[in-house]
Symmetry: C2
Subunit: 321 residues, 2 copies
């Protein structure tokens, strides 16, 4: 590698609450990273992404390409259409806006597709033909790998497994619909279940850990109580694992992957629900005992997968211009 | 084409109630067809399939290859593992049993995958990259086309969209689980809804058309009553269309196809529920109004799609040996 033109790429993963940017070198090593809060509104988002990119570029002095992962429905023309966790409709030509602002071509994809691309290339799914990636954060992000490739569908919008209805008349979802998988097997689903348990069931540490304020109950209070052996908290995690397993069983019915990669913030507590998840999955999957089980594993690249994948996307597209 | 070696293939589609066999010539024309009742038990099934194949072969005198479409989970080693509509577990090496009985190599796949292969090659999905086929019969059969190919998944079991849970604590399904899409948006789902409506709601013609016997109420009584303008029957069909739309909306969230092909017996009454289906789909799909709609169309090849696809599979595999 020659200095200054070593094939650096910028990748930025836009989440519901924060944006994480990285610089990837040509050996796929992260040489710098930065994070900022995700602002409200498209104009502000473009401005923040442009500032972060510009700041990151200063580190190597020059980059080949820039990629962005966005949470929601993008179309194949680079238009950001709909993002439940950014407030719903967006309808902005985000690729064009970023290109104009930065004075260079940029590449975009759904955030979970970016993460799946990274896991496929340099993470948990190397050489795998059929897999899904499911990120458990505030919501559920996901991506479908079939025939060894991230599948974007006919209009760029495939892989929204979190918005498959699993409970037709169930809980309201951030997307405006009801009973989505994301309404149960995500951080927001877990928080809702924790709050219900904190007031409705036997005495537990959940509310105590939240300072006695029900509105303050978060997933971390639940997992901390569960680690202390709190029976109610363990039950709530079991219910969470049941819902997670239900959706993964749906994925097996539809796509029969060999590998399911779980990412996102909730994977930090993977040890707390791995066993109930496997147990419920086996009970819930179609044809249980008459089919091979997929491997269900935590993501290899952790929370940087999305940003790394956005950089890999940009590098690939830049190379194939 | 020379006489006697014109490249004929046999394809047999095994359904829950009947087996439909065809001979396909090298121009993909059906030159003969036959149907028999599906017997109970694997040994009987192998015997009946062997007899039907042998009978079909007599017509051209010689065939290149034979293919079979089977309703349920097959693995990539040709083992028939699990079939909800044939009573559950099967666990028979069906390809091997048929090969031994017929004294020749045979090829097998899931019945809906066979139908999708036929629609992709010579039907409604020519040139399409991302599509699903959904057959509405006693149950729901289905197949996923991505990257222009029928996707079998890692273990040969992809495409069981009918067994995705859409109502977590809902109606029992033939597969032993609860709340599967098939429990609602299929012939058996429609029959259940028709029976409930026939006794629970306002007076309707449904029960009259069934001879006053509730146990005798079938989907055809419902559709006939609906054609006569029976309000209750029209309402039941609207509910059926809602469940069908809910599952198709799930498919769009997961796979974002450009085309959804509906096949199976219930498509005969497509005109009765096409409009409510489209209306409910638009209301239920993620990001409605912010995404392109897929085309939802009836299958081009009708009830012979599965048998034709089994023959095409056999021809392809025979040619690439």
């Amino acid at each position: 590698m020659s200095a200054g033109r070593a094939g650096y790429t910028v990748g930025i993963d836009v989440g519901g609450t924060k944006c994480l940017g990285v610089i990837l070198d040509s050996d796929n090593q992260v040489v710098a990273e930065t994070r900022v809060a995700t602002p409200a509104g498209t104009d502000n988002l473009v401005e923040v992404l442009a500032e972060v990119s510009t700041e990151l570029v200063r580190i190597p002095g020059e980059v080949d390409a820039m990629g962005f992962g966005l949470p929601g429905l993008l179309d194949t023309e680079g238009r950001f259409r709909f993002a439940p966790n950014l407030g719903g409709p967006v309808e902005a030509p985000i690729a064009e806006l970023l290109s104009e602002r930065l004075g260079r071509q940029v590449w975009i994809d759904n955030d979970a597709n970016c993460a799946a691309r990274a896991e496929l290339r340099i993470g948990a799914a190397i050489g795998v033909q059929d897999a899904v990636l499911v990120t458990l954060g505030t919501g559920i992000g996901s991506s479908v790998i079939m025939a060894g490739e991230v599948q974007r569908g006919a209009h760029g919008m495939a892989g929204e497994l979190g918005h498959m209805t699993v409970d037709a008349h169930g809980e309201p979802c951030a997307c405006g619909r009801r009973g989505c998988w994301e309404s149960y097997a995500s951080g927001s689903g877990l928080r809702r279940m924790a709050r219900t348990a904190a007031i409705a069931e036997s005495p537990s540490q959940i509310l105590v850990l939240a300072g006695g304020d029900l509105e303050n109950v978060r997933g971390e209070h639940l997992t901390r109580a569960a680690r202390d052996g709190d029976v109610v908290a363990v039950e709530v995690l079991d219910r969470f694992a049941w819902w997670l397993a239900l959706g993964l069983a749906n994925v097996s019915a539809a796509l029969d992957p060999e590998l399911m990669i779980l990412g996102g913030g909730l994977v930090a507590d993977w040890d707390l629900y791995e066993k109930p998840l496997q147990k419920h999955y086996s009970a819930l999957v179609l044809g249980s005992g008459h089919r091979p089980d997929p491997a269900i594993v935590p993501a290899a690249l952790g929370e940087r997968a999305g940003a790394m994948g956005a950089a890999l996307l940009a590098r690939d597209e830049f190379a194939s211009r």
